[in-house]
Amino acid sequence: MDGFFALALTNLSSPLILCFVLGVAAALARSDLNFPEAAAKALSLYLLFAIGFKGGVAVSDHGIDLALGTTLIAGIVLSALLPFIAFGLLRVLTNLDRTNAAAVAGHYGSISIVTFVAGTSVLESQGLMYEGYMVAVAAAMEAPAILSALWLISAGGASNGKSRMDAHLWREILLNGSIVLLIGSFVIGFITGQEGLKEISSFIVSPFKGVLCLFLLDMGIVAGRGLRNSRGSITLGLLAFGILMPIVGAAIGAVAGAALGLSTGGVLLLMVLSASASYIAVPAAMRVAVPEADPGIYLTLSLGITFPFNLTIGIPLYLAAARIVTGG
């Protein structure tokens, strides 16, 4: 337990977390601190490219094995399954109607790539290795949760679920820019290996944490503004869900990771993926497919509550648990 507190303290006093806290504080204080939209987008593209490329290089070093396939399948199953657990928890803890509960649940089956990146950063600072293909698992976990959420809505007879999904929406979900860049850079990293990494390491390795700091500052500003605007709409039950669900998800991820025989770093990342909630891909899909669901609820929960929780307390907690599970 001492290890957890030490790691939590180190994590909380790291530049990454302090930048996020600065963003939240600035937004809550109504500062005009702001990132231009294009700059925030560029930071996000950089992080996706860097994490995808490095993951591809790691797989290139160790080769493709059966574990990659089984972990991918496990990730897809987790993404599809977690919304049902989240939905059940929401029905117990809150008085959300079926449509809103299902829409929120969909976010918790999908993932937050920034939380994943923060997880890899903590692992690197601890000198822990992780399976490079976890990047591909992250990409695979984006979409299945959306289908589960739509099924939960249509199963309740709220409306015709089939009409909610069309070919355009499928294309937008599966080929959204984040997934294409993540998988594309993963493939480039896999093809070019260490040689390719050596050529561009001064761009994607050394500046990585600094860029992540700036991106988390921006995320803090966005989260802070979301929290400021949502005062009164988040009940105690929703708050409890926003903190409890990532812990439940992480626990399920830990069991799955241990069953798959992943390393301590791999288990942590599967826990982080299972614990995190989407705030980019799923909200966009929900606005198209389930416009009657309230974005003020699902965006505030995933970005304003679960994301900061995972970033500050969750990741150290999950790492301590991953170490216990793997004996690492």
Binding site: P291, G296, L303
Partner: protein, 103 residues
């Protein structure tokens, strides 16, 4: 200078629906339109700002078309098929254009 009657249709819609709206407008035979980002505003769900958005899910866009008056009903039906269930505002106003053959 000679001017001609036209209709200006402005649709403010959630950004994730923008591509569908444009497709519907084109299917209705309207090939000229402009798309503008919306900085922020306030509506039934309260205030919002472009600054506070992390993805495109929460943003709004405005699509503006200027058409001949006789094409209005067809265009509005196409627009309504997209915006019916979504947040947004559709306004129609009279306007004057200089070169009628372009609309």
């Amino acid at each position: 200078m000679q001017t001609h009657d036209a209709k200006r249709v402005a649709i403010i819609i959630e950004t994730p629906m923008k591509r569908r709206l444009v497709a519907a407008i084109e299917e209705a035979g309207v090939s000229g339109y402009s798309i503008l980002p919306v900085e922020g505003g306030s509506g039934r769900s309260g205030p919002w700002s472009r600054e506070g958005q992390v993805g495109r899910a929460g943003g709004m866009s405005q699509v503006i078309c200027v058409i001949r008056p006789d094409r209005l009903d067809t265009l509005l039906e196409a627009i309504f098929s997209v915006v019916e269930r979504h947040i947004g505002v559709v306004t129609v106003s009279d306007c004057q254009v200089l070169r009628a053959e372009r609309f």
